[in-house]
């Protein structure tokens, strides 16, 4: 009876391991499903963009819209560099370098913040608003949607950096950095698509 009671107590203290029906880790699966839904969301915005562009029988973008291509290009370089630093951060913790992880995450956060602040400043000086024709609406919707994703990414990065500076993560356990890194690379990929289609092509 005593052994049975002990077993019951142990069971109460430690919940049983959750049943796992997938080969993919549940946390990774959650992130992949989230990214899949985000791709569909971006897809709907791009559909609107290309529809407006195709039905518009004038030069694109319309003559009165002047996009800050050089600033956006510098911003693109900053965001792409931040993907290198988060990759470096993960490689560092895999090698057991906590300082490398902390530096990589801090640099990634700072570059992401620089990107977002530059974009906000550009919104203030761009010379048109979301109310100015369909182009103005779709421009602010697409770049704003991406900006919102950068903000979410920065929140994740802040949580990862806080954990890294508190001594979390190790060469064996760094799943939090891995999943956050995947999300950050996804945000970068989406920006490459947004930048190329809106600013360049």
């Amino acid at each position: 009876v005593s052994a049975h009671a002990d077993a019951g107590h142990a069971h109460a203290a430690h919940p049983p391991v959750a049943h796992q029906s997938s080969r993919i880790d549940a946390r990774m699966l959650g992130m992949l499903l989230f990214i899949a839904s985000e791709i569909m969301l971006f897809g709907s915005f791009f559909t609107a963009y290309f529809f407006i562009r195709v039905v518009n029988h004038q030069p694109w973008p319309p003559a009165q819209f002047h996009l800050p291509v050089y600033v956006a290009f510098i911003n693109t370089c900053i965001l792409v560099t931040s993907s290198f630093t988060i990759h470096w951060a993960l490689q560092a913790i895999k090698r057991g370098s906590r300082a490398g992880l902390q530096a990589g995450l801090a640099l990634t956060f700072l570059m992401g913040l620089t990107f977002l602040l530059t974009q906000i400043l550009e919104y203030a000086r761009i010379g048109f608003t979301p109310h100015d024709q369909a182009f103005g609406t779709v421009f602010f919707c697409l770049t704003g949607l991406h900006g919102a994703h950068v903000f979410v990414g920065l929140t994740i990065l802040a949580a990862m950096a806080a954990r890294a500076f508190r001594g979390h993560f190790s060469p064996e356990e760094h799943h939090g950095v891995e999943i956050g890194g995947i999300y950050w690379h996804f945000v970068d990929v989406m920006w490459i698509v947004v930048f190329t289609t809106i600013y360049i092509l």
């Binding site: 992949l32 993907s83 190329t196």
Partner: protein, 55 residues
């Protein structure tokens, strides 16, 4: 077809490929619009061919 976001390293590689893909299209389109379209079709066909060959 392998998931390009199965790990951080795979996602990083996917990002680099995306940059190369769009850089080539943008460069070709800058030279000539129809050259950009041709590069887009060529690269997309190449990617589809590689993906279908692998699976």
């Amino acid at each position: 077809v392998q998931n390009p976001l199965r790990s951080e390293a795979a996602a990083f590689r996917f990002l680099l490929l995306t940059i190369g893909y769009f850089a080539l299209i943008a460069l070709a389109a800058w030279i000539n619009t129809w050259l950009g379209v041709a590069v887009f079709v060529l690269l997309t066909a190449l990617i589809v061919y590689r993906l279908t060959r692998r699976s």
